[in-house]
C-alpha cells in the first residue's frame, strides 16, 4: 500500500515532531494557567461570585487584544486567559506543522486539505461569527 520505504520514515519524523509540539504546548499553557490561577486566588479568594446567569457583557477578556492588554497589568484572570489561548493555539500550530510536513513529502493534496482546515479555524478567529 505504501509507495516506498522513504515515505514511512518521513511520516515517522513528522509524528515525533508533532508529539513533542503537542506536549510542549500543553505544559506551557498549564504552567501559565497555574501561575495566573495563584495570582487570581491571591487577589480574589474571598470575593463572592455567581455564575448563575450567562452575561456576555460582563466578560472582561473576550478577545485576544483584551487578553494582551490585561497581561500588562499582571491581572491573574488575564494570565489565565493567556494560558487558555496557548492551549487553543497548540492544536492549531499542530495543523500548521502537518501542512509543512506534507509539503516536504510533496503530498500536495494533503497540503491543500491542511490549508483548508487552517483557513476554517482562522475564519473563526475573526470576530464576525459572534453577533
Amino acid at each position: 500500500m505504501r509507495a516506498s520505504g522513504k515515505k514511512i520514515s518521513g511520516d515517522k519524523d513528522i509524528q515525533v515532531i508533532l508529539g513533542t509540539l503537542l506536549r510542549a504546548g500543553v505544559v506551557a499553557a498549564m504552567t501559565v494557567v497555574f501561575i495566573g490561577g495563584i495570582l487570581y486566588l491571591l487577589m480574589n479568594s474571598y470575593h463572592l461570585i455567581s455564575y448563575a446567569e450567562f452575561d456576555s457583557t460582563k466578560a472582561k477578556y473576550a478577545s485576544i487584544t483584551a487578553v494582551f492588554a490585561g497581561l500588562r497589568t499582571m491581572d491573574g484572570a488575564a494570565i489565565i486567559q493567556f494560558g487558555v489561548l496557548l492551549l487553543i493555539f497548540t492544536p492549531i500550530t499542530r495543523v500548521l506543522f502537518s501542512v509543512f510536513g506534507f509539503l516536504i513529502e510533496r503530498d500536495y493534496m494533503y497540503v491543500i486539505i491542511g490549508l483548508f482546515v487552517l483557513a476554517v479555524i482562522l475564519f473563526s478567529l475573526s470576530n464576525k461569527l459572534v453577533g
Binding site: 498549564m30 497555574f34 450567562f54 478577545s63 489565565i80 487558555v84 497548540t90 492544536p91
Partner: protein, 278 residues
Amino acid sequence: MSVLLFTIIVLAGAFLAGLLGSLTGLGGGVIIIPLLTLVLGVDIHYAIGASIVSVIATSSGSAAAYVKEGITNIRIGMFLEIATTVSAIFGAVITVYLNPGYIAVMFGCILLFSAIMMVRKKIDHSNDDFSSPMARFFKLNGSYPVNGEVVQYGVHNVAGGFVMMFFAGIISGLLGIGSGALKVLAMDNIMRIPFKVSTTTSNFMMGVTAAASAVVYLHRGQIDPGIAMPVTLGVLTGSTLGARILINTKTDKLKVIFAAVVVFLALQMIYNGLSGKI
C-alpha cells in the same frame, strides 16, 4: 459562594472527572458539565466554555503520546477534520440562540448514548483485504504496530464516515464536549478502522475540532477564567494520573459503575432541562 471555595470544589470535581474519564475512555466534559450546572448552579453556557478548554488539554496531552507511537493516522485525522471543524464552528455559533433547557436535554441524550457505547462489547471490524476507491484516492489506508509487527489496514465507506463526522462536530460545538463516542462510531463502525487507530486518531482530532469552537466561545465571553482555571488544571492532572493507572488495571467493572453514574446524570440533565430548571 466565595471564589476560593468554588475553585476548590471545581478543582476536586474536575480531577475526579479526568481520572474516571481516562480510565473508562469517556471525556472529562461529560462529568464536568453536570457538576457545574446541576451541583453548582452555573449557567450552561459558562459550563460549555470551560469544558471545551479541558477537551483541548486532554486531547493534546494524550495525543502527544499516541502520535509518537505511530498508531495515529494523521491523514485520516486531517481529512476528517475538514468536516469536524466546519460543523464545530457552526454548532458553537448556534448554541447561544438555543434555549438552555434544550441544550440540557440534548446533552442528556448524548450522555445516555456515550454510556451505552462505553459498556457495549467491542467487535473489531477491521479487515485489510479490501478498501474503498475513495480511501485509496485520499491515501487513508495505513499501517500500525501490533506487538512489534506492522499491520496494514484498509479504510471503508469514507463518505459515510465523513457525514457522521459532521454530526460529531456539531454536537461538539453545541455542547462543548469532545464527542469521542460519536467519532469512534464513525471510524470504528462505519469506516472500519482498527480500534487502536480509531480511538487514538479521534483523540488526535478532538483538539483541533475543539479549538475551532473554543475561539467562538472566547469571543462571546463564555470562557470565564475563574471556571476555566480549576477545570483545565483538574481534568488534565486527573487524566494524566488515570493514564498511568490504566496500564495495570482491569477497568470492566469500573466501566459498568461509571456508566450507571453517567445514566443517572443524563436523566437529571433531561429532567432539569424539560422542567426548565436549567
